[in-house]
């Protein structure tokens, strides 16, 4: 009885040892550098190619960045075991905070966006602090309800423009800032989160995801850590919310729309959760894809669903994990068992 099995072998590059990079050739350097450099370079030069790709795809890039931001934010929350169905909350809070600041103070967006991001994230951390004790489905349910709650508050009380929203907000200084603010923000956020999760602090966060009781038995106040993570994660969401308010010069109840909660989650699952790069990749597949299918009218939702289904059934680990494995490992077929 002879059977075959695929064996995976790591490529033999010892990249890092106690913080020292030991690389011996340009080939090895490129091997490590290219997967990081190519997306960064692509993002940085894309806005310069307006003549080639057209204004339409530049706009799509901005939307993609918005969703990518939110899915990074989702992925960070998920890395401490908080599975959120309401990423739109962060977006909406950031969007309305900056609109309020712009309306009441009239300062430059370059100042109000960071200010609104910080205060908005702080507000979210305080708001969510009582519920970080919840895990799994209970946290998910409440996080789903919160953005809807805020939308209804605005609808019912008519504050902050009510159902009409706030219009005529000041615009960003110029078109370059409109494009490069989300792009550079995304690059910083992506690599920042990836670094954060690999520090000792990040190891504690991953521990909380695995078993909160073990982490507590290690003397760590897990609730305080979860609140910190909610703050960091909310910061990404409120920043992009604040940006989009000034980008569209409008904020309305759509800032709390359910799309902004579900799309980032879908992107993160599609790309592969837990790596941040996967979440970003997912957004960069999902959003342009749905734009390509726009020509089919309402049918595009059907196409989106089919592609999602295929990917999730065929690659449940996520696209990024699959690519990463293929890149870092050889595969070969070995025989198992006795030969006749």
């Amino acid at each position: 009885m002879v059977s075959y099995r695929r064996e995976r072998i790591d490529r033999g590059i010892k990249a890092r040892c106690n913080g020292i990079f030991a690389l011996s050739s340009y080939r090895e350097m490129l091997y490590l550098l290219l997967p990081r450099a190519i997306p960064v370079v692509f993002l940085l030069i894309f806005p310069l190619l307006e003549g080639v790709v057209g204004l339409y795809w530049e706009k799509v890039l901005v939307i993609t960045c918005i969703i990518a931001f939110l899915s990074l934010s989702w992925d960070l929350l998920a890395s401490v075991g908080l599975v959120s169905l309401g990423q739109g909350l962060f977006f909406g809070i950031g969007a309305y905070f900056v609109a309020f600041l712009d309306n009441s103070l009239g300062w430059s967006p370059l100042f109000t966006i960071p200010l609104a991001s910080l205060t908005g994230a702080f507000f979210c951390a305080v708001l969510l602090s009582p519920i970080v004790r919840l895990r799994g489905i209970y946290f998910a349910m409440i996080s789903l309800a919160l953005p809807l709650l805020f939308a209804r508050i605005i609808e019912a009380t008519g504050i902050l423009g009510g159902t009409e929203g706030l219009t005529g907000l000041s615009s960003l200084p110029n078109a370059w800032i409109e494009l490069y603010m989300p792009i550079i923000g995304l690059i910083v956020c992506l690599f920042g989160f990836r670094r954060l999760i690999n520090t000792d602090y990040g190891v504690v966060l991953q521990g909380i995801r695995d078993s909160d009781r073990t982490v507590m038995a290690g003397g760590i106040n897990i609730y305080w850590y979860k609140i910190q993570v909610v703050f960091i994660s909310a910061l990404a969401g409120t920043f992009i919310g604040a940006f989009s308010t000034h980008y569209y010069q409008f904020v309305g109840m759509s800032a709390f729309a359910i799309d902004l909660s579900i799309l980032p989650l879908t992107a993160a699952i599609l790309g592969g959760a837990g790596t941040f790069a996967g979440a970003t990749l997912g957004a960069f597949i999902l959003i342009p894809m749905s734009e390509i299918f726009r020509a089919f009218g309402t049918l595009r939702v059907v196409f989106n669903c089919i592609i999602l289904l295929v990917f999730i059934v065929a690659l449940p680990e996520g696209i990024f994990h699959y690519i990463q494995r293929k890149y870092h490992q050889f595969e070969r077929v070995v025989t198992v068992g006795m030969k006749k």
């Binding site: 000792d200 602090y201 695995d210 073990t214 982490v215 507590m216 290690g218 003397g219 760590i220």
Partner: protein
């Protein structure tokens, strides 16, 4: 008499109608070693959970070094210096074994010791694992916890306790599920911990090993204390024999 390091007074906990722990009191002197034995369901683990804050007591008090810690959150109690292992191993499965120890090394308590500072935690973690028998040369400390055998995971629990530099260590059935050779190699580690002047509480069903280590035994049955004394006294105690040890000579 010296101030006891741990003072339990009249501790009780009910789960539904079952009195899991029923009015238990005892004092434990610093550098002492106490074994807790009793039949299954006699409240041994619940007692540990009550001391370490994982379960809130219905009534009674816990004093550690003269300070009341009743009902504190588990992480606060750890930072006072009480560390425990879990009977059911709970490693951080997705992390390598040595990264499991980064968590306790990151706690506020360890900050002032070696190993609590940035950049030295990895090294200290691997040293600790080597101490409890993770062979560094065959890269066992670097393996992901989910692929480690059960005996290693038990010792990982022990290393996690040692990482917070506790004054009182509570071992909840550390030897259960370990092979004889693993028990034999772990015993000297525990004896060394005792020699270092740490206070020890052990719940254990392997009496031969337990009697080698502890100099005092607490026997529980149905949540009540039925015996407290030296191992020899307990061996000869009629009630203890009936409830747990059996009437044949141990």
């Amino acid at each position: 008499m010296k101030e006891p390091i741990l003072r339990i007074a009249n501790l009780s906990k009910k789960f539904g109608g079952v009195k899991a722990v029923d009015g238990i009191s005892f004092d434990l002197e610093a550098k002492g070693s106490l074994g807790i034995i009793g039949p299954n369901g006699s409240g041994k683990t619940t007692l540990v959970n009550l001391i370490t804050g994982f379960v809130k007591p219905d009534s009674g008090t816990v004093f550690f070094r003269g300070k009341e810690i009743t009902g504190f959150m588990p992480y606060r109690i750890v930072n006072f210096g009480i560390a425990r292992t879990f009977q059911m191993v709970r490693p951080l499965y997705k992390l390598p074994a040595f990264k499991n120890l980064i968590v306790p090394l990151y706690s506020p308590r360890v900050k002032k010791f070696r190993g609590g500072k940035y950049g030295e935690r990895d090294e200290v973690a691997v040293d600790l694992l080597e101490e409890v028998g993770f062979e560094r040369d065959s890269l066992v400390p670097y393996k992901v916890a989910s692929i480690l055998p059960h005996g290693y995971l038990k010792r990982l629990e022990l290393a996690r306790c040692l990482a917070v530099r506790p004054d009182l260590i509570i071992l909840d059935e550390l030897f259960s599920g370990m092979s004889l050779s693993e028990v034999a190699s772990t015993l000297p580690i525990i004896e060394k911990i005792k020699e270092e002047g740490k206070t020890l509480i052990m719940i254990e069903h392997r009496l031969r090993e337990l009697f080698r280590i502890v100099d005092r035994l607490l026997v529980l049955n149905f949540g009540k204390k039925i015996g407290d004394g030296s191992p020899q006294e307990m061996k000869n105690n009629e009630e203890v024999r009936k409830a747990y040890l059996g009437t044949e000579v141990v």
